[in-house]
């Protein structure tokens, strides 16, 4: 990309990118910490995650402000305009991911020793998958790599599939023993959070596509999450 | 570092002050020269605008006038007789001739006009203003000599010499001392009751004097107290004057009697050229100038403007048009006498046009002025901003419409200025017109474009060459008229330019 004639314009844009990279890094770290805290039942770490979320929010506000200022001052067109619009949207998605990480960290307090390992493993696996998606998508964003973004976008299918199976398992476990319900509900929320993280990552992927190609993605995202139709009655369920 | 800067600043201010001083000095010097020239000319020329005439009672003798041929009457004779009658004491052919010589040869014109206008005055006596000759005129204006009249302070005794023409003057004393006592110098005229004598100097120990206005034969001696006689002294001795002492005294008498009339000389503007200075006027030259310049402008103006418009707007820009432009600029700088030669060779010799006619003069001047008009018009056309032409073309005007309906009206002030400057130059040109013969002595006012004429600058040139002293002031007066006309033309130029100036 050639240089802008007015250097301060280029500086504005690069500042915006730096702030987004910062926010991305912070959110990645938050997610990692939240999953770790949940797995290890580390309440102190969980509390730190909850506190740090404020920094994420602050960054989002700053990014939005900078973007609006740049629009007012520079009247950007074409790619510059798309970049700024995408920056606003991506920061919003990142902020939501941060919130989801915070929410997941909150569940740490509800974890107990009696938790069957395989349930936790499932949620952890979901978390790792989500983390990979976030890391890849941030890489794709920093390199403006639409192809990598599309890979992430398609890979979200796997996360959705994983979520489906965990959902079924948790339902089964809850039906077996009503004393497990509260614990499993928290786990369910945790799993849901990870699934939502994946969705936000695909959002970011669509924005990256728009940034690079100038046209929104025409295909619809494949939504393999069928949990909304699951009932799990005791008498023969269709989705076993 | 700042000291160096201060030095430079001071030097700069000093040099600016010096420059302004030089500019102002140059301006003042030029203004001074102009002022001196103008004032000198005006002072010299003013006398020419007045003429003096003497009131004479003339008896219109029927014998001298044939009612069938009023203009042919012998008015000269009548005038001279009447004038001589004013001075009955003047006798002798020489003296009488000197007396009537005071009158102008054209002095009878006024009487002639009166009789022609009103033949009923034949046989009556009328008072007629008779124009005085140039010499008398100049004397009365003080241009021939200075004249001081002082009353005698001592008692004067005049005695006629026996046996010869002459008188002896004595006062209380005689001889040399008489001269001093009486306050006389050689050449002074002593006027007393009954006559006037001129002091000729010491002779045989006596102060001698020759008669000027001789007293009666009966007069032999006379005593005059102080105040009863006066001394008339002339700065120029009689031998060097065109008016001798007698004539001077006659004129003084007429003046004393109040019969000298000093009036504005309309004749100067109404009469043509003449050998007699008092009768010479510039009318012929003025009319000749007008006709010549008229011919010049009516040719040069349309040709010049058309050429300028064509060269500026329509002609293709190639090396031919460049050549033409260079040559037009050169023509503007060609000495004007060359155009005279051209006129001589082509218009007079080849085409056989009448010599010294305003037609030929106009043609020559047209050629002279054409380059100036073309250059000024081109500059005026160039000065019109091209956005006007573009706007006109953009609306769908043709090139011709754009030029004639938009560019030319806007260029008009500049064109007019150029034209009037050209006109003014044409008015003041002498050399080329000399070559085509407008140098001849033309007494009549030209009647048309083909009659012989002269122009004002040439008239000035001719008059300045003539020996008569009176023509000096006529020359200056003609120069004044020329300057006034040129000034008026320039003023018109400025007025027209201001009036038609439009801002765009």
């Amino acid at each position: 990309m050639s240089e802008h004639i007015v250097k301060s314009y280029d500086e504005d844009l690069s500042q915006l990118r730096t702030m987004l990279a910062q926010m991305g890094g912070l959110v990645e770290q938050q997610l990692d910490d939240a999953i770790y805290a949940l797995t290890r039942r580390d309440t102190a770490l969980a509390d730190r995650v909850i506190q740090n979320d404020e920094r994420v929010d602050v960054l989002e506000r700053e990014i939005e402000e900078k973007a609006i200022l740049t629009i007012a001052r520079r009247q950007p067109v074409a790619r510059d305009l798309r970049e700024i619009m995408v920056a606003i949207r991506v920061s919003s998605d990142l902020e939501r991911i941060g919130d989801l990480a915070k929410n997941t960290a909150k569940r740490t307090h509800a974890m107990s020793d009696q938790l069957p390992r395989k349930l936790l493993v499932g949620v952890t696996r979901m978390g790792r998958l989500a983390q990979v998606e976030v890391k890849n998508i941030l890489d794709a964003y920093s390199r403006s790599d639409a192809d990598l973004a599309m890979e992430v976008w398609r890979a979200d299918e796997d996360l959705d599939a994983l979520y489906n199976s965990i959902f079924r398992e948790l339902l089964t476990y809850m039906m077996e023993d009503p004393r497990n319900i509260s614990l499993c509900t928290h786990l369910l929320f945790g799993a849901k959070n990870m699934e939502r993280v994946g969705d936000h990552a695909t959002n970011i992927a669509e924005n990256i596509y728009y940034l690079v190609h100038g046209k929104p993605l025409s295909e619809g995202r494949p939504k393999k999450d069928v949990t909304s139709g699951m009932r799990g009655d005791i008498e023969g369920s269709d989705d076993r | 570092m700042t000291e160096v800067r201060d030095e430079l600043v001071k030097k700069r201010y000093a040099s600016e002050r010096r420059f302004r001083f030089y500019g102002a000095a140059a301006l003042i010097l030029t203004a001074l020269f102009l002022a001196v020239l103008l004032i000198d000319t005006v002072i010299r020329g003013i006398p020419a605008f007045h003429e003096t005439s003497v009131e004479v009672d003339v008896n219109v003798n029927a014998a001298d006038v044939d009612p069938a041929n009023l203009p042919g009457g012998n008015y000269d004779k009548m005038i001279k007789e009447a004038f001589r009658a004013e001075f009955p004491e003047v006798t002798g052919r020489a003296n009488q001739k000197a007396l009537t010589a005071l009158l102008s040869t054209g002095g009878a014109d006024a009487l002639r006009s009166m009789v022609i206008a009103d033949p009923s005055i034949i046989g009556k006596t009328v008072t007629v203003p008779v124009l005085l000759g140039a010499d008398a005129d100049m004397f009365l204006k003080g241009q021939l000599t200075d004249q001081t009249i002082a009353p005698g302070k001592a008692t004067l005794h005049v005695a006629r010499l026996e046996g010869e023409e002459g008188f002896v003057l004595t006062g209380e004393k005689t001889g040399e001392e008489a001269e001093k006592q009486l306050g006389l110098a050689t050449g002074d005229v002593v006027r007393f009751q009954g006559g006037a004598v001129r002091v000729t100097g010491m002779q045989n120990g006596y102060l001698k004097a020759d008669p000027v206005l001789p007293p009666d034969a009966a007069f032999s001696t006379g005593n005059f107290d102080a105040g009863q006689w006066d001394i008339v002294s002339f700065s120029v001795p009689q031998a060097n004057r065109r008016i001798n002492d007698n004539q001077a005294l006659w004129l003084d008498k007429l003046k004393q009697d109040g019969r000298i009339e000093n009036s504005f000389s309309w004749r100067f503007f109404q009469a043509g050229d003449s050998r007699e200075p008092e009768l010479a006027g510039i009318r012929g030259a003025l009319v000749g100038s007008l006709l010549t310049v008229l011919v010049a402008i009516s040719l040069a103006l349309p040709l010049g403007i058309a050429s300028a418009v064509y060269l500026e707007e329509f002609a293709p820009k190639n090396k031919w048009t460049d050549l033409i432009e260079v040559n037009i600029n050169n023509l503007a700088a060609v000495p004007s006498i060359i155009f005279g030669l051209l006129g001589l060779a082509v218009f007079l010799n080849f085409f056989g046009l009448p010599r010294s006619a305003p037609l030929v003069g106009g043609l020559v001047l047209a050629l002279l002025v054409l380059p100036t008009i073309i250059i000024a018009s081109r500059a005026a056309l160039k000065a019109v901003p091209p956005s006007i032409t573009e706007a006109a073309l953009g609306v769908g005007a043709s090139k011709q419409q754009a030029v004639f309906q938009h560019v030319l009206p806007l260029a008009l002030p500049g064109i007019m200025t150029g034209t009037i400057l050209g006109l003014a130059r044409a008015f003041g040109e002498t050399a080329p017109l000399l070559m085509i013969g407008m140098i001849a002595f033309i007494a009549d006012v030209p009647q048309g474009f083909t009659s012989a004429a002269t122009v004002l600058p040439v008239q000035v040139f001719l008059w300045s060459d003539l020996p008569e002293l009176a023509f000096k002031s006529k020359t200056a007066a003609a120069i004044i008229v020329l300057l006034v006309v040129l000034f008026a033309l320039n003023a018109i130029a400025i007025y027209l330019r201001k009036r038609f100036e439009r801002r765009w």
Binding site: M1, S2, E3, H4, I5, V6, Y9, Q75, P76, V77, A78, R79, D80, L81, R82, H213, G214, K215 | P316, K317, P385, S387, I388, T389, E390, A391, A392, L393, G394, V395, G396, A397, S398, Q401, Q405, H406, L410, R502, R503, W504
Partner: protein, 273 residues
């Protein structure tokens, strides 16, 4: 008319969103323009539709004004200028020897960068064109034409009480509107505008842009502008010129959100080195 395939990106709007009719008023094919030895426009081909505003943008010296002036043959006044190729208005070649330039210029009007009203009265300014083209049979008709043109140019209310006063006494923006009225008065079909607002203040500029918006319903308007924001605001189609070639030409909205050529992108975002 089928647009030929070209090595440059020639986007002939097939279904331009902003256009009511898809008629092409002005077309150019392989136009070359030389000033003496220097080539100002290289092999230009473009189709300009009717009843729409097409904007020409590009850096200084790129040939946009040159091409604009070819459309009404104003370049004829420059002796060293040579134009080859085909330029059609209403499917008729304007460089055909049988074409009367004067009639062409009445059909294709022009508004210049610096407002240049004639140094005559406001009335005379507008009436001059109709008069020389014989568009009015008498004084009343002429008055009508003048009033109509001034109304269309949005100047009637301000000018109706001072029609006899000189046109040069108006403000800059009013003068430019007077020039537009003058161009409209001869009933043109195409109006060419060469940077019409560059000498005006923002309010006058806005008024002119509003006027252009109204005019485009009835005329084919081509505007050369240095301001990309103005091109974005005012036009339906934008053509980007660079070094005498047409680099990109297409729908304005797309041009300013997602241009296809990198050169276009660089220019409109200000990355021109």
């Amino acid at each position: 008319m089928n647009a030929p395939v070209h090595h440059q990106t020639l986007i002939t709007p097939a279904h331009p969103k902003a256009l009511a009719s898809g008629q092409f008023k002005v077309t150019a094919r392989d136009v070359d323009v030389y000033y003496g030895e220097k080539q100002a426009i290289k092999k230009l081909s473009i189709d300009i539709p009717d009843r729409a505003v097409s904007a020409f943008i590009g850096p200084s010296g790129c040939g946009k004004s040159t091409f604009l002036r070819c459309i009404n043959r104003m370049n004829d006044t420059i002796p060293t200028c040579k134009v080859t190729g085909l330029i059609d208005v209403d499917k008729r070649d304007i460089y055909d020897p049988n074409i009367d330039v004067v009639q062409l210029r009445a059909k294709v009007g022009m508004v210049f960068q610096k407002p240049n009203p004639f140094p005559k009265s406001i009335f005379e300014n507008v009436a001059y064109g109709p008069r020389i083209h014989g568009l009015a049979a008498g004084k009343t008709e002429l008055d009508e034409i003048v009033e109509k043109s001034l109304r269309k140019a949005g100047l009637w209310e301000e000018a109706k009480d001072r029609l006899a006063q000189p046109g040069t006494g108006l403000s800059g923006g009013q003068q430019q509107r007077l020039c537009i009225a003058r161009a409209i008065a001869v009933n043109p079909e195409v109006i060419l505008m060469d940077e019409p607002c560059s000498a005006l203040d923002p309010i006058a500029t806005a008024k002119i842009e509003e006027l252009i918006d109204e005019l485009r319903q009835n005329y084919c308007i081509v505007i050369v502008t240095h301001s990309m924001q103005q091109a974005a605001r005012v036009s339906q189609l934008t053509a980007f010129f660079h070094l005498g070639t047409l680099v990109e030409y297409g729908d304005t909205n797309e041009m300013f959100t997602a241009p296809q050529e990198k050169r276009t992108q660089d220019y409109i975002t200000g990355r021109f080195g």
